[in-house]
């Protein structure tokens, strides 16, 4: 089988497996799986910037939050329908990414990292400061304001597990398709070149600033889509999703799954979700485990699961 057929088969297979999974999972894991898929879309968005363009950000929660509040606020205050709210969420995240990129991408790597962290924190503080609108830390619920999705004759209520799961799957599938298409495209090649050696890539005919900005926009859009999806599917919108910890999670998930691989984010998110879940059952200081995991990964397992797999046995894995 040719490489491109193998790649297509693998990714379609993963999606099919995820689809079938909903019929065998018990209720608790059912919702978890939906959550994991939405968060994996967030990690996939993060991976576009880090894994394929080589830019590390510590403020990605701002894009997730932009999507979350961008979708949640119109529903809560205006009773807007889900599709429109989702669109606004993505638009908000993309716009933020573009503005941020125009300002921050001209600085060097370490500066970019620090600036992203600062802006992420500023947005988090803003959600707390404008308490009257955002209801800050406490957050708000959208489920009672959210009209069911109209599909032909059927009305799909967002509280129904099947609706949650399949919409989450749809979101993840879209992010998978987007990242895979990007990776395999000519633009994807340029991004990988920028990650490997930016100056060389510029001298080979590419305006690296424009490509980095584009990559940041896509990354922001995907993260915002995940945020908007999360708000609509799981109903809760709150400041915690804009905090620094929430910017560090996608880094952790992508690292564990394999930075620079397409399926890595899914693997990393799923594994970490259950690891944290298990550890939280034992102690409330599960963040100690998170910290230790980061150190251990970077010391002994920097390629992550799929990265190692790709290095040793499957060189064709995108």
């Amino acid at each position: 089988m040719s490489t491109s057929r193998k790649v297509l088969a693998l990714h379609l297979g993963v999606l099919a497996a995820l689809f079938l999974l909903q019929f065998v999972l018990p209720a608790y894991h059912h919702t978890n799986a939906a959550r994991i898929m939405v968060l994996a879309a967030y990690a996939a968005g993060y991976n576009v910037l880090l894994g394929y363009t080589g830019l590390m950000s510590l403020g990605h929660a701002m894009f997730f939050a932009a999507g979350m509040y961008g979708a949640g606020l119109p529903v809560y205050y205006l009773g807007l329908g889900a599709p429109a709210a989702f669109g606004i969420g993505i638009a908000a995240g993309t716009a933020l990414a573009l503005v941020f990129g125009l300002m921050a991408l001209r600085t060097s790597g370490p500066s970019f990292l620090i600036v992203s962290m600062m802006f992420g924190q500023a947005l988090y503080l803003a959600t707390l400061y404008f308490n009257d609108v955002t209801l800050g830390d406490q957050g708000f619920i959208v489920s009672d304001k959210l009209a069911p999705l109209a599909l032909g004759d059927a009305a799909l209520g967002f509280h129904e597990p099947a609706v949650k799961y399949n919409l989450a799957l749809l979101l993840f599938a879209a992010s998978l398709a987007a990242t895979l298409a990007l990776r395999l495209s000519a633009i994807g090649r340029v991004l990988v070149g920028i990650r490997g050696n930016e100056e060389r890539t510029r001298l080979l005919g590419y305006d690296s600033f424009r490509y980095k900005l584009g990559s940041l926009a896509v990354s922001g859009a995907l993260s915002a889509a995940a945020g908007a999806g999360y708000a609509l599917l799981f109903s809760y919108v709150g400041s915690t999703f804009a905090s620094i910890l929430f910017s560090i999670y996608p880094l952790l998930w992508a690292l564990l799954g394999g930075i620079g691989t397409i399926l890595g984010p899914l693997v990393g998110t799923a594994l970490m979700f259950y690891l944290v879940d298990t550890v939280s059952g034992v102690t409330s200081s599960y963040l100690l485990f998170v910290g230790a995991a980061l150190v251990a990964l970077i010391l002994w397992f920097p390629q992550g699961i799929l990265g190692t797999l790709r290095n040793r046995w499957l060189p064709w894995l995108p």
Partner: protein
């Protein structure tokens, strides 16, 4: 209190924060300047200084003795931790920039949570070693805060002398300019890196000890100074000591003033916007040496 005196109060507050911020940011800037890495756990060294100061004060009992001991013991202890982190983690990943970020984030959470588990979630006060009031016509101002500013200034000067007058300082500046060249001339890079990282941590810890009688020791107190230090080094330019000091005063003063007149939260948001403004005009910071 009318506006004038209120402003004067804000300036005093701002000056004190500026000195302490300068101490913290200096540590961060030295580490980046010489080692080319960003230590995201830097704020936790500050927090550890404060917490260990509380532990000392609690153990010893008398405020003055406890504080003096803390001023020596806490930075030493934190320095030892930093040395260990350098030896067991940073050196193993060869000070690779991205890997160091990830590793120091991990260290941040490990230190923070360890303190939570051992010290608890409460904010605990420490009695200041000296207590006197400087009486201005409009208000009385805490004499200890002025002492903090003074001691910070001393430490800043001491560090400046270390960097410009000692052999270690010479090695540091050589390594910052051109590491390969420095090594060719016999500068022991690894040892210099270990010492610089330790020094940075000790400066942060000292700041923590100084601040704890004013603020309380709390396991989450490292985040705000970290972000403020980040703002300082971005505005001042990563790697420029002079820039760090100037920016620390600009940021410290403005943060102090906005905090007094409005709110600390707004102050942070304003500071971030300030950074954005600087970056639009000068991507390298005000005094920055931009490394490609």
């Amino acid at each position: 209190m009318s506006f004038g005196p209120h402003l004067f109060l804000a300036l005093l507050e701002g000056t004190v924060s500026a000195f302490v911020l300068a101490l913290i940011a200096l540590g961060l800037s030295l580490v980046f300047g010489v080692m080319r890495i960003v230590n995201v756990a830097h704020g936790e060294f500050y927090m550890l200084g404060a917490v260990l100061a509380w532990v000392c004060a609690d153990a010893v009992g008398t405020p003055v003795a406890g504080f003096m001991i803390a001023l020596v013991a806490a930075p030493l202890a934190v320095g030892a931790l930093a040395l260990a982190a350098d030896r067991w983690v940073l050196r193993r990943i060869d000070y690779h920039p991205e890997s160091t970020i990830v590793a120091t984030i991990g260290l941040l959470y490990m230190i923070q949570q360890a303190v939570l588990m051992l010290y608890g979630p409460d904010a605990r006060p420490v009695t200041p070693p000296v207590y006197f009031v400087v009486q201005f016509p409009w208000f009385g101002y805490s004499g200890y805060k002025l002492v903090v500013a003074g001691v910070s200034a001393l430490l800043l000067v001491a560090t400046w002398l270390l960097v410009t007058r000692t052999r270690l300082g010479l090695y540091m500046r050589a390594a910052q300019q051109d590491l390969e060249m420095a090594q060719a001339f016999g500068v022991p890079a690894r040892r210099v890196y270990a010492l610089v990282f330790t020094l940075g941590a000790m400066l942060a810890a000292a700041a923590g000890v100084l601040i704890v009688p004013i603020e309380q020791a709390h396991y989450l107190m490292g985040l705000d100074p970290l972000l403020l230090s980040f703002i300082v080094v971005i505005i001042g330019g990563l790697g420029s000591l002079r820039g760090t000091l100037v920016a620390a005063f600009a940021v410290g003063l403005s943060d102090g003033i906005v905090s007094v007149f409005f709110s600390p939260t707004l102050a942070k948001i304003v500071a971030t916007l300030l950074v954005a403004a600087v970056l639009v005009v000068r991507p390298g910071g005000l005094f920055g040496e931009e490394r490609a």
